[in-house]
Subunit: 386 residues, 2 copies
């Protein structure tokens, strides 16, 4: 049975000093039901994507908490975690729950409150997504992990710092009219190259920020969907994993998890990379967008830097990537990001995005956890499949 | 399509100073495939139940990690969390994944490594399962929360400290021959009443311990199940939630989440409390076993204390509860417990338990999170349903 996204909502992403996690979750959740034109009574189950509320705010057991705060108790509520891919994971599990026949209408809500602890502690909390025994315990940070990937990509394929910078420039430009983005400002390649070095070759403006925020979607199956105006159908779903520790992988410049997830999603949708009109891609660091567009098959391995440089990823390019700003400019509340990506794909397909791509039929969302140990890919379209 | 448990495994529960979380998970996972008579190649997907590895060992992103350690990458791996109900939650999500048609054979693995931090820090990490704004931030502990429930139960129904103690006495007696239990020792009612007071009226021996351990099961659908020898079928599955904060509930002595989960599971199985021959019930504190057997309908509300006192919960009683030792004597590695309960239900139904109940046809596992904000119930039998 086909399943569609029938409502979307999100908070503004940013540093919300005056708001709690539950407060942001309530806003995003209610906006998604409002957009779907339903009440909370219609929602039969809740899936929460969150990475680390235990470390960030001393709160686990988040699914039951948010269910209560939204007035959904005693309905089932599930929290899923796969580091920065938690939102995509929760979405996929909600999709499977509907496919199982257990529910017709489900809410998926991603949320993270990251600014209640210091930046230093946040860096260390985030590194819990890497291998504790082999990476974080010896001082590796995520910027460090992605710097290793970037260095190897530069060495093997001649990718340049300028090309890395162009990823951030593209994404910032795309966010100028996004009212939910953490940053609405243009930056230049020179700005990126002049910004502080975080982990060579990655500068500050190659890195997505620390962000508070929440995003939510409503899923419904064909039985539940008839009353909704603009269903956006899930055509493909894929989920792959890989080693947490970078040194255990055969290659630093290719993510097996992404290739696995993408193949599953393409096969299920009966589509190939060529058919995809645009994508939301996980740009936690600029290099990751380049590696991801290669692994998704939008260009060949090693060609990502040139693909960015020649303008293919621009909104009016061959394959618009992160048309509303990506993690870099919208912000990256880690557990919320995977759901926010889907919110933006849905808005594009409905034709009401803040930076609308013309004539798009198929959109893809790729959510990556850690340095690539989890990848979740979903393909969406305006027409369902049998 | 019917789904069955076709393999079970677990580590010894206890204080494993010399073992890591991943080490325990590998042991339990391999034992479950060995018991099922399959190889890891046959496992298509992994579901992990874990509450708080971020706080306990500085490691999130556990599902991809364990998938790698077991050699399952790049297959999908999902972590589910609902505090102490994380294991039951992971089991239910794996069940839904099979029902959705996404997989035929899935591993569910619960694991927690709690002794790498001090007891004081563990108490505080566990309290993240309560309401951070209204409970833990003002100093409530879980023993404190359950003490409030016990006090109210005693006041309303005349439940006695001796009756509470008898829960622990029963469970310790049942664990005497369980090679995986943290404690293999008899205790008396006097021992319980003389043990240190933790949160009045709960003594030390009313409380389950802090434990390291892992448990795993293999699930298969009818397509996958033909080659397995002793499938134990899932007949009913239920999942309910409630407010995290105790003060928001209508009643302290009744758990809405449990009643919701139980009703769903009974309805789905076409069975009632009367039909259930035995149960694994979440006795994190002695009072919780009493409240749970009432909410499951094994006796009337308020009659739980007398039900325990008259021997109904003994292995040769009317309704054996926690026949292999419960959380109290087997130990309570929080994310593993819900899976371990199912391992023990399966062993009983197969007839190869360490403390075998004679003539049992239907068994129930009830896994509770926090002070009752999540409850997950599953009913099992040797014959599948259409």
């Amino acid at each position: 049975m086909n399943v569609a996204v029938v409502g979307v909502g999100q908070t503004k992403f940013g540093e919300h000093w005056g708001r709690s996690l539950r407060d942001m979750a309530i806003e995003a959740g209610l906006l998604s039901t409002q957009d779907a034109g339903i009440g909370l009574d219609d929602v039969q189950s809740l899936y929460i994507g969150n990475m680390s509320s235990g470390n960030f705010i001393g709160q686990e057991h988040l699914a039951a908490l948010i269910a209560d705060q939204l007035g959904l108790s005693p309905k089932p509520a599930v929290k899923c975690e796969a580091a920065c891919a938690s939102g995509g994971l929760a979405f996929r599990q909600a999709y499977l729950a509907i496919k199982s026949g257990m529910a017709d209408v489900v809410m998926v809500l991603g949320v993270e409150k990251m600014t209640d602890i210091t930046g230093e502690h946040a860096i260390s909390a985030l590194m819990a997504a890497g291998d504790q025994e082999w990476e974080s315990s010896i001082g590796l940070t995520f910027a460090g992990a992605y710097a290793l990937i970037a260095r190897r990509h530069m060495e093997m394929f001649g990718t340049t710092q300028e090309q890395l910078a162009m990823v951030s420039v593209n994404n910032h430009k795309n966010a100028l009219n996004n009212p939910f983005a953490q940053f609405n400002m243009n930056i230049t390649v020179e700005d990126v190259l002049k910004s502080s070095m975080v982990a060579e070759p990655l500068h500050l403006l190659d890195c997505s920020p620390i962000t508070d925020g929440s995003a939510a979607v409503i899923l419904a199956n064909e039985r539940g969907v008839s009353r909704f105006e603009k269903p956006v159908w899930i055509l493909g779903s894929g989920h792959g994993t890989d080693t947490l520790a970078l040194h255990d992988r055969k290659s630093l410049v290719e993510m097996l998890a992404t290739r696995t997830a993408a193949k599953q999603a393409y096969d299920m949708a009966g589509l190939s990379a060529r058919n995809i009109n645009f994508a939301e891609v996980h740009d936690c660091f600029s290099i990751n967008e380049i590696v991801a567009i290669e692994d998704l098959g939008f260009c060949g391995k090693g060609e990502g830097g040139r693909f960015v440089e020649d303008g293919s990823i621009a909104v009016d390019g061959e394959k618009p990537i992160n048309a509303t700003g990506g993690l870099k400019a919208i912000g990256h509340p880690v557990g919320a990001t995977g759901v926010r990506q889907i919110v933006d794909v849905v808005r594009q397909l409905r034709g009401d995005s803040y930076n609308q791509i013309s004539g798009c039929e198929y959109g893809l969302a790729l959510n990556i956890g850690g340095s690539g140990a989890t990848s979740i890919a979903h393909i969406f379209g305006m027409v369902g499949r049998k």
